[in-house]
């Protein structure tokens, strides 16, 4: 399933271009600001600016997979491939996991690559005070932990919407909107509402991991193959039929 999805991405260049350019759009201004900081700046201000920029990088794994995930189920139905696929022995859990991993893996890859490129570029080109603030183990740990967890959350939300929508356009718009609440976390941290300590990071990471696993189970239960193929809910039909 994942291999098939990757092949389709490669054949549809627009997906790749979008994955490459969206992170640049989100982080252009903060990154430019980092490079413009000189060694004479107040260290607290520098640390704050670094925190804002690196936390904004966590927007990438939230926003990038939203539309891909929203297309995942309803798109298969619209192109007529869902029914033949569901006649194979693949279970709904396998189907959804395959679809979700196919959206999550490249997203996390892009987020990691972008992070690595940025920190290396800062190391080589930015002021030493900025480089010192960026090259802290906590930021690497945060990126390593939170990128996949946030991406998974965004993907499950998008997949859930895709499994229940009747129109691709609606699914993609709702998927993008529904992924935005995940941005609250890095936003609150960047605004210093609560301090991003190691303990906070671990607690939030554990909570996100539990939520992601629970989301897989919930989305699997929401996957109503009868409704997707015929357009009518199996539960509603059985209720109306009195069984």
């Amino acid at each position: 399933m994942i291999r098939k999805e990757f092949r389709e991405y490669r054949r549809n260049r627009f997906i790749i271009y979008t994955m490459g350019t969206l992170p640049l759009i989100f982080t252009a201004l903060p990154v430019i600001t980092l490079f413009s900081i000189s060694n004479s700046e107040d260290p607290t201000t520098v640390r704050t600016q670094v925190a804002i920029t690196l936390l904004l990088l966590l927007v990438i794994p939230v926003v990038l997979p939203a539309t891909i995930a929203a297309y995942s189920v309803i798109g298969e139905r619209d192109q007529g491939t869902l029914e033949p696929l569901l006649t194979t022995p693949v279970t709904r859990e396998e189907f959804l996991l395959g679809k979700s991993l196919a959206a999550t893996i490249p997203t996390v890859g892009v987020a990691y690559v972008f992070f690595i490129v940025l920190v290396v570029a800062i190391r080589l080109g930015a002021a030493s005070i900025v480089s010192h603030a960026v090259w802290q183990p906590s930021w690497f740990l945060a990126e390593l932990l939170f990128a996949p967890l946030l991406a998974a959350w965004s993907v499950w939300v998008g997949t859930a919407i895709s499994a229940r929508s009747s129109d691709v356009r609606v699914a993609q718009q709702l998927g993008t909107l529904a992924s935005l609440p995940a941005l609250v976390l890095p936003l609150l941290m960047s605004l210093q509402v609560f301090k991003p300590t190691a303990t906070t990071a671990v607690v939030i990471a554990v909570a996100l991991a539990i939520i992601d696993v629970a989301a897989w189970r919930i989305v699997s239960k929401m996957f109503d193959r009868e409704r997707l193929i015929t357009g009518a809910s199996a539960v509603t039909m059985r209720a109306e039929a009195g069984t």
Partner: protein
């Protein structure tokens, strides 16, 4: 139509929720009593009453939900008993006045209205060798009935035709049997496994479905599409299977072409190749020759014959009656309810009287007197070509008698042949010329 239950089982969690006004009334009384008990009485007696009422609500909900289901099951079993003895109803319990009806359609309608199905009674031991067994299967989508009270079986290695007009429920039946949708009521087993038993994956390993729309990934090549589906079946030897499947549908030369660049007919063939990948025991083909040119259609028909020769059971839905007549061992005709099932020759014999077609150089002077004098002749009429269609009780007795009568009358006989009724005539008699959906 199924009766409406007052309560229905919750999808998540356990217990029931109200579904009709009766259910809500009971719930309201129970909740009101609970609130009143806790706020008003504040005595141990009141608390006991509250617990009792809530418990009564749960007991009533569970018992009514279970009872309705039980009653329905019993009703199905009773009706199944009435129709039992393996399709012997049509000849045993139908009263004589039915056979006094004038036209084949009247006979068919009378039998269908009494028995619900008009099945082949000449076949014994059909159940033992059946790979698909359907009993009183019904599917409703909300208030719309897709198909109702359908019962039939499909034997191993046969080509079973499933015919009917648009909207008759053919595709819904295929989707139900291939575990894509769950039936509203009734039972069915496919490849020996009940479809509602939670072993859907096992069923899907043994079957293949070629949907009416092939459903291919247009950005992938033919081989990539097939490799993906082969992977879903978990095959380690995918490439040899793909090669065999492409060869079977004559598409080996297009293996690396993107499916988006193929014509509708070629995509149809890729869909068929996909259905062959897992060497299925049963293959469901939904309009396999739709959109194909005559040569390609012939290839597909030969492929179906080849599958039958290999012992694969083919469940074929098609609008093309000539194709069904050519390929199918038995057919079922569905128009929301099952109108008939059986071998085509048997259906023809049951639906239509035997007839003899006579054409003469010039019209007979007094055909009524001529034909009525022959014992085995039951009726006659003029056909469109200026000849005569003579219905008889026994062709072997009537034909020589008719020939002798014509010669004695001095008629110049051009031809005298046994009449033949096509599957199309059977179909139109049962479904109606307009192919109206849902007509009884």
């Amino acid at each position: 139509m199924a009766s409406r239950q007052w309560f229905i089982r919750r999808r998540f969690g356990f217990g029931f929720r109200p579904r009709t006004w009766q259910g809500w009334l009971i719930t309201a009384i129970a909740v009101g009593a609970a609130i009143g008990g806790f706020t008003g009485l504040r005595k141990s007696g009141g608390e006991i009453l509250t617990v009792g009422v809530v418990g009564l609500y749960l007991a009533v909900g569970y018992s009514f939900g279970g009872m309705t289901k039980q009653l329905k099951t019993e009703a199905l079993e009773n009706s199944a008993g009435d129709l039992a003895v393996e399709y012997a109803v049509a000849k045993v319990t139908v009263p004589p006045e039915v056979y006094g009806s004038q036209t084949p359609r009247e006979i068919a309608e009378a039998i269908v209205s009494r028995s619900g199905q008009f099945a082949d009674t000449s076949e014994k031991d059909t159940m033992k060798d059946s790979v698909i067994v359907v009993e009183h299967l019904t599917k409703q989508f909300g208030s719309r009935v897709a198909f109702e009270d359908v019962s039939f079986n499909v034997r191993r290695g046969e080509v079973f035709g499933f015919l009917g007009p648009n909207g008759a429920g053919k595709t819904s039946t295929v989707r139900t049997l291939s575990t894509l949708v769950t039936p509203t009521s009734g039972t069915a087993s496919v490849a020996g496994i009940a479809i509602d038993s939670g072993h859907d994956v096992e069923i899907r390993k043994r079957i293949a479905v070629m949907t009416e729309v092939p459903g291919l990934y247009l950005r992938l090549s033919v081989t990539e599409n097939l490799a993906f589906f082969a992977g879903l079946y978990g095959f380690s030897d995918a490439q040899p299977r793909i090669d065999r499947a492409l060869e079977a549908v004559n598409l080996s030369s297009r293996a690396n072409d993107l499916c988006g660049g193929l014509s509708k007919g070629l995509r149809q063939r890729v869909g068929l190749a996909r259905a062959l990948l897992n060497d299925p025991e049963i293959i469901f083909l939904d309009e396999p020759t739709s959109g194909l040119d005559p040569v390609a259609s012939l290839d597909v028909q030969n492929l179906i014959i080849g599958l039958r020769d290999k012992g694969v059971t083919v469940f074929l839905t098609t609008h093309r009656l000539d194709e069904a007549e050519k390929l199918c061992d038995r057919v079922a005709i569905l128009n929301t309810t099952l109108r008939t099932v059986g071998r085509i020759d048997d259906l023809r014999q049951r639906m239509f009287q035997e007839s003899i077609l006579v054409s003469t150089v010039s019209p007979l002077i007094d055909p009524a007197r001529l034909f009525s004098a022959i014992d085995s002749v039951t009726g006659w009429s003029n056909d469109d070509a200026g000849g005569y269609v003579i219905t008889v009780s026994d062709v072997r007795v009537a034909a020589p008698a008719i020939a002798r009568a014509l010669v004695a009358a001095g008629a110049d006989v051009l031809s005298l042949a046994e009449g033949h009724h096509s599957l199309e005539e059977v179909y139109l008699e049962l479904v109606g010329a307009a192919g109206k959906v849902g007509t009884q």
